[in-house]
Subunit: 139 residues, 2 copies
DNA sequence: ATGGTTTTGACAATCATTATCAATAGTGAT
DNA sequence: ATCACTATTGATAATGATTGTCAAAACCAT
């Protein structure tokens, strides 16, 4: 049976109040900064529960850490700027259908998919187009 | 200047000869099993170099490990059994087009994408369907 | 073969995450 | 409100992947 603890609510609130993705470590730090004496292990557990119950999205950052995000509107994917980290939520009905179909064609079941698009957002694209900086002329 | 060592070729060969994705640890184990006394750190370095030079793709497995694959035959995606590791290569023209379009709609450029489908292959699905164990009737 | 420099490899260090386990605090019943 | 029961917490150790270190060895050009 699941019990109701202030720790779990604190994690849920903190995640809700976070703009983009956040790692367990960062969330723990943020909570401590807010005065919560919550333990690190508890943050990991709460995030894991949230992800398991579908209330949070979990994916792996390029640095190899697990990062979480409040997930209200069901299943969706992300468009992530690899320079500034800007994240845009995108619906992907086509991809959903495609993934299920392809999985089915090969006899696979319980198909989950990792569909994330990395690129340069408009701002960063513009900056990249106007370098005006000396490039390192390494071999 | 990059030098040519048998270790680096061994890693490249092993990666080429691997069907789907493989982690650095697994590749190291495989090399050892083949008789190579190559060191673990060297495998990590070689894989990192391969990825940096574009000869290998690197992404994060759901378990949080970095997994690599040889990147020879152009761009394609994978259908991976999360139980037995079976990997099926799949073409994804629709997804390619979708990713480019979605990125463009949001002003993103240089869009790359990570599209991999994890599921249970036919064999593992069958095994999972006949558990012969009591399920926990949770809410 | 020689020299200069890169690479290797064993191991320590680091970092994120999970397990451990006694103490604590919900929950439901009295 | 109190009690007992048990899920949860939290400090810390343990784990496991990855990276840094640095002397020794290997590679390449001469």
């Amino acid at each position: 049976m699941k019990r109701n603890t202030w720790q779990r609510e604190a994690v849920r609130d903190a995640l809700d109040g976070t703009e983009g993705f956040i790692s367990a470590q960062a969330l723990h730090s943020a909570l401590h900064a807010s005065g919560s004496p919550i333990g690190l292990a508890t943050v990991y557990r709460a995030l894991g529960d949230l992800a398991a119950s579908g209330d949070a999205d979990c994916l792996q950052s390029p640095e190899g850490e697990a990062i979480y995000r409040a997930c209200s509107t069901g299943h969706h994917h992300h468009l992530i700027c690899r320079n500034c980290g800007l994240t845009v939520e995108i619906a992907a009905d086509e991809v959903e259908a495609w993934a299920q179909r392809v999985a089915g064609e090969h006899g696979f079941t319980s198909a989950a998919h990792v569909v994330d698009v990395f690129g340069l957002c408009a701002d960063c694209s513009r900056q990249a187009a106007e370098p005006a900086s000396a490039e390192s002329a390494s071999a």
